[in-house]
Symmetry: C2
Subunit: 308 residues, 2 copies
Amino acid sequence: MDELGRIAMLARVLGASAAGVDVAIGDDAAVLSPPSGRLVWTIDEHVEGVHFRRDLASWREVGWRSYMAAASDVSAMGASPWCALASIVVPRDVDDAALEDVAQGQRDAADASGAPVVGGNLARGPVLSIATTLLGTCHEAVQRRGARAGDGLWLAGRVGLAAAGFRALERGMGSAPALAAAVLAWRAPRARVVDGLAMAGIATAAVDVSDGLARDVAHLGKASGVCVVLDERSLIEDPALLDAALALGEDALDLALYGGEDYALVATSDRPIAGFRRIGEVHGGSGLALRSASGERRLDPRGFDHFG
Amino acid sequence: MDELGRIAMLARVLGASAAGVDVAIGDDAAVLSPPSGRLVWTIDEHVEGVHFRRDLASWREVGWRSYMAAASDVSAMGASPWCALASIVVPRDVDDAALEDVAQGQRDAADASGAPVVGGNLARGPVLSIATTLLGTCHEAVQRRGARAGDGLWLAGRVGLAAAGFRALERGMGSAPALAAAVLAWRAPRARVVDGLAMAGIATAAVDVSDGLARDVAHLGKASGVCVVLDERSLIEDPALLDAALALGEDALDLALYGGEDYALVATSDRPIAGFRRIGEVHGGSGLALRSASGERRLDPRGFDHFG
C-alpha cells in the first residue's frame, strides 16, 4: 500500500466526527468551530522501546495506550475531550495489518473518550512512534497551582497497578491469575473522563498520575506552593495491588508511590468529589510527606524521569 | 540535566505568549480562549534520517524547518497561525546544548510566524524527532475541494529550489555560489503566512507544496473533481532554479514539478491574488496536464511518497 492508500485506510478506521468538526481527514488541516468557553490542548508521544515493547502489548493496545495518555491530560484539566490528531511514524517492519490494528486501538480509545481522531500525519522512521494531540473544552480549566492549605487530597482510580502489570509482563508472569488485574491496568488504561468532569468547578488543583503518584503530586505541590501529605494506609488498601505486589515480591507502597501509567486523577478540594476517595491533605510549606501509624516522614518525589 | 531541567530550559527559550493563551508551558495542558470564527489544526513530524540529516543541517535549522512545515499547512488553509505545541523525542547522543539549539530554531520560526510554542512533550527515543501541532484562526478555511473549471492556478513562492538545495548538500556542493539560494531554500524555508492571508476569501481552493508541485496539485484537482493544467514556461522562469539545475546537471522542470519542501502555496481563483503569479488553469475533467510551446501532455503526479 502506498502513502495515499494508507491514509485512506486510516480515514476508514478512524473516521468518526464530533460536533464542531467541520473538516476532518483529507485536507492540509482539520477545520473546527469551537464552542464558547475555553480549550485545553495537549500533546503526548509514545515511542517504541521507551513507552512500549511490541512483545508486551498488541498493536491495538499500543494504539489505545498512546491515545489514552493524551486524553488523560485533558481530563486532568477538568475538560471534556473534543477531538484529536495523531502523527504516526511507521518503520518498514510494521506492515499494513499492524498499522490498521494500531488505528483500531486509537479508534476504540477515541470512542471510549468521546473525542474522534480527525486528522494526522504519517511518516517513515526507525521505530513505531505515535504523537497524539488532543483538544478539550471547558469553562474554567483546573490547573496545578490552585491547591490551598486545608484542602483534602483526592484520588480517582488506582495507583501502582499498571507498574505491577508492566513488571509482570517483563518477567514473563503475565498469565498469573494474581497479576491479571495489573496486566490489564498496564495494557488498557483509561483516561478518567467522567471523573475529570466531576471535579471541574470543585477542585482547586489537579494532576494526572503518569510518572508516579509521588512525582506528579510533587509537581502539583510545587506549582501551588504547598506541602502535600499522603496517607499511607489509603494508598495500600487496593486488594488487586496487594495481590500483585505479593506475587511479584515487591512492596505495595513503593508501587503505589512510584509506579506510573495508571492515569489516575489526583485533585485537591475542601469538599469530597464524586468518584474520588481521600488519600491525604494539603498543608502550608513545601515538599511531600507520608503519614503512617508510626508518624510522618518526608518523601523523595522520585518516579519516572526520561532523562534521569 | 534531568527532565525538569530540560523542560525549564525549553520554557525559557520558547517562552513567548500570544493573545488568547491563558496557560502555557508547565501544566498538564495549555489553556486557550479562542477568538470567534473557525480554527484550523494540523500536526506534522520531522524524523531524523527521513526529513533531515544532522550532517546537512544545524540543530537550529532542524528546529526551524520542523516548525515551518506545520505552519505551512495552516497558511494553506488561509488561516493565521495562532499557537503551537511541540513533542520532541531526544536520543542520548543529542546533548542539552543541541536541544537548546533545536528549541532556538523553533522559537525563531514561531516569532517569524506569529505563533508561539506554548507547550509540548519531551521523551527519549532512538533518533531526534519533532512533532509540531499548530492551531490557526480564520473566518472561513480555504479547502482543497473548491476549485472550478475556469479558475486560474496561482503560485506564491518558489518550487524546486529546496530539492535542488538538498541534492547540493547531499553531493557536498553546498558551498557552490550557484547553489547558495537553493541551499538556503532547503535549510530555511518559510511558511507563507502573509500570502495565506492574502488568498483568504478569494481563493476557491489551495494547497501547500510539501511533497512536490505535481503531487500536491493533483491532490487539489482530485478533491475538487477538476483537471489542473500547468504552464511549463511559468515554472522554469526562476533564475535561481535555472542556475541550480545547471550546476547540478539536473532538469529545471523536473525539479519544479517533483521537488518538495519549498512550502510554496498554490491557489485557484478566477482573479489575481496579491503576491501570487499565474502558473496554469483549471479545466473540467480530471488529472494533471502540462502545457508547453509544443502542446499539452498528461502528467504523472509522482513526487515524494513515504511509502512508495
